[in-house]
């Protein structure tokens, strides 16, 4: 595994000097846009083997590493502070990175926004989807409609639950998380409309003890299928399985942790997204500043269904999945109220996955037990 070490940096500098020397001797000049060699930097907020958010990105980086002519730099545990600017500048100035993937939500504002104008020949691709008109044009945002994956998780959960109570361990009440919670419940309600989903917020992206306590509290209340939206789902998975609850995964494949108790999981599929973006950059083609995709575009994928998923469940799961891939599927559709009784969608109204309204979600739908504040 390549990690970002001084040794690597020296080796790379040596190699690039040699390459430059050879180019100068041969009297060659590189074309301005298309390039044979590209250095790509990946920056993670946590460890890249966390069975979660960062591992999903690192799997994408591994796919990029296999491409010809690409050098991949990776740095883990970079806080969402001035540190990420230092890391990005060092990747650009010392290693000659031409494409950066700072993958954490908090890297964008102000850090990418400050650096992008300074390095106009470097491309900054940020995960989270915050780019708006007026932001630097050499920066871009990409994200996937993973709420659909949680909807499919919910379908599997709805069939597996005997107590008709399912549980969700969530980090913070931001729109992406709320959309996942709502989708998970609505997927389960597509199976049985009496199902409820208990949500517990831990308040932080990574708090091992609190995640374990939250999972135990859910199990105590009789939730028999549990999923989560925290950075590293390992603790939630292991605790849920120890309490005899089924697990639906998130971010990456957690089936090695949960074994037979693993139903399915909503996974990122960054490998396809990253190899595509790197190929485009090398060919000198432009990348859209605002990139989105779902199941159909290969941005997300589902873990293989576990042995506990019944044949009826499998049939409905596959049918809904086909409907989503076909496009135009709305998880949030009327008549629907939030759990405080306000109308979210009138009868006949629906928000498909591409609807920007979903990205400012601030409610939990009817049937979710919990509160956003």
């Amino acid at each position: 595994m390549t990690t970002f070490t001084p040794l690597n940096r020296r080796r790379f500098l040596g190699a690039s000097t040699a390459a430059l020397g050879a180019a100068a001797l041969g009297g060659l000049s590189r074309p301005a846009m298309a390039a044979d060699n590209l250095t790509v930097g990946f920056i993670y907020v946590g460890p890249k083997d966390d069975f979660g958010y960062n591992q999903a990105h690192a799997e994408g980086a591994a796919a990029v590493k296999a491409m010809a002519g690409v050098t991949v730099l990776e740095e883990e545990n970079v806080p969402e502070s001035q540190d990420v600017q230092n890391t990005m500048e060092s990747m650009i100035n010392f290693d000659g990175a031409g494409l950066l993937f700072p993958t954490s939500f908090g890297y964008f504002n102000p850090h990418i926004l400050e650096l992008a104008p300074k390095y106009s020949d470097v491309r900054f691709e940020h995960c989270g989807g915050l780019w708006t008109e007026g932001n630097p044009t050499n920066a871009g945002s990409y994200f996937g409609y993973i709420g659909m994956g949680q909807y499919l998780n919910g379908v599997a959960a709805g069939h597996a639950s005997k107590t008709k109570k399912i549980g969700f361990v969530a980090a913070k009440p931001i729109p992406q998380v709320l959309n996942n919670i709502n989708s998970f419940l609505l997927g389960a309600r597509a199976v049985d409309p009496t199902i409820t989903c208990q949500v517990i917020f831990t308040g932080e992206w990574s708090l091992a003890v609190k995640e374990a306590e939250a999972t135990n509290a859910l199990a105590d209340q009789g939730c028999d299928v549990i999923t989560c939206h925290v950075d590293g789902p390992k603790v939630v998975c292991e605790t849920a399985v120890a309490r005899g609850a089924y697990v639906c995964g998130y971010h990456a494949d957690q089936s090695p942790l949960a074994g037979d108790m693993y139903l399915t999981g909503a996974e990122w599929n960054w490998a396809s997204v990253y190899t595509d973006m790197v190929a485009k950059t090398m060919a000198g083609e432009p990348i859209d500043n605002f990139v989105r995709g779902g199941l159909a575009d290969g941005f997300i994928k589902m873990s293989p269904l576990g042995p506990a998923v019944s044949d009826t469940a499998r049939a409905q799961f596959e049918a809904v999945k086909a409907e989503i891939v076909a496009g135009g599927f709305a998880a949030i559709k009327g008549p629907l109220k939030d759990n405080k009784g306000n109308v979210i969608a009138a009868a006949g109204e629906g928000f498909v996955e591409t609807d920007v309204k979903l990205e400012s979600m601030d409610y939990l739908v009817e049937g979710v037990l919990g509160s956003t504040s």
Binding site: G46, V199, V209, E213, A217, D220, G222, D224, G244, L369
Partner: protein, 308 residues
């Protein structure tokens, strides 16, 4: 086994279960710090020792396949950190608090560095006793899964209290902690006593770390401690340097920490950030209630840099 509807009983049950599950690292770190501070030194580095103990315990348990070997390794690693702290503090003009902060960062950095390959693998867990066998309620049985280290921590608190009160070793530690001059007059070497007390304290903190990674939450991640080592050090002051009180204070902290998730699970979901602050609010409240200007530092070892 079928689940039973327990509704609001979930809250006291979660507090009980949380007290048993979450408190063990607090018990070990605070007992270790109690021993160190009674000898007249403060070791703020125990947060780093806790994290390094969690990493080394997990790594060794995974490599050897035996969780108890992991606990032993964590204790050894913790002792090394403690001895290093004690040795550095022997030199003239060295401030134990500053060294402690350095040791904390050193321990965490080292743990992150060596812990990289152990984030993914699954190490064997420490065994637990099922003290809820008499009950038909699965939730109660789950809450009463008592780990061996929790019981060991309770026994250790009693043993340490007895040691301070009625043994020669305890007397030596107390004399060194209360008056360096008196200890010297008795022919004791305060530096050596403090070195050993800090080493033993570090070993206990290491065991606390092994509990984190080998039982609850049961895996090695870099955020596994999230400040529990520092809180445990504060607990010692709250417990007035008394090992038995350390044990109860740790239980209180563990139970209060379970309050936030448990209240959300029974439907009290508004203002959960406030409930997450429960352990700290509780500590503040108790400190204010039990405070008095006359005996602010009652029970504090007189040689502690806090009291001097």
């Amino acid at each position: 086994m079928d689940q039973v509807e327990i509704g609001l009983w979930g809250v006291p049950l979660a507090i009980l279960g949380g007290a048993i599950r979450v408190s063990t690292p607090f018990i070990f770190v605070s007992l270790g710090e109690c021993l160190t501070e009674r000898s007249g030194r403060i070791n703020l580095g125990l947060e780093g020792t806790l994290v390094f103990g969690a990493m080394s315990g997990y790594a060794v348990a995974y490599e050897s396949g035996n969780p108890f070997v992991g606990v032993l390794a964590a204790a050894l690693a913790g002792a090394c950190f403690g001895l290093l702290h004690g040795w550095i503090c022997k030199f003239k003009g060295v401030n134990d608090i500053a060294v402690g902060i350095a040791m904390m960062l050193f321990g965490m950095g080292l743990a992150f560095f060596f812990g990289k390959p152990y984030i993914q693998p699954q190490a064997p867990d420490l065994p637990a006793f099922n003290l809820g066998w008499w009950s038909d309620i699965p939730q109660l049985r789950a809450a009463l899964q008592v780990n061996v280290l929790f019981i060991a921590g309770g026994l250790l608190a009693v043993a340490m209290a007895w040691m301070f009160r009625s043994t020669r070793v305890g007397l030596i530690v107390r004399v060194v902690g209360d008056s360096t001059d008196a200890a010297r007059a008795m022919g004791l070497s305060p530096d050596r006593v403090r070195l050993l007390a800090t080493g033993a304290g570090g070993a206990l903190a290491g065991i606390g770390g092994a509990y984190l990674s080998l039982y609850y939450p049961g895996s090695w991640t870099e955020g596994v401690s999230s400040g529990q080592g520092l809180m445990a050090i504060a607990l010692v002051i709250f417990a007035r340097w008394n090992p038995i009180n350390c044990f109860w204070a740790a239980l209180l902290f563990g139970g209060a920490g379970a309050l936030g998730p448990a209240l959300q699970s029974v439907g009290v979901s508004e203002g959960y950030y406030l409930f997450f602050a429960a352990p700290y609010v509780l500590t503040l409240g108790l400190l204010i209630l039990t405070s008095s200007p006359d005996r602010a530092m009652q029970g504090a070892p007189l040689e502690l840099s806090l009291t001097k």
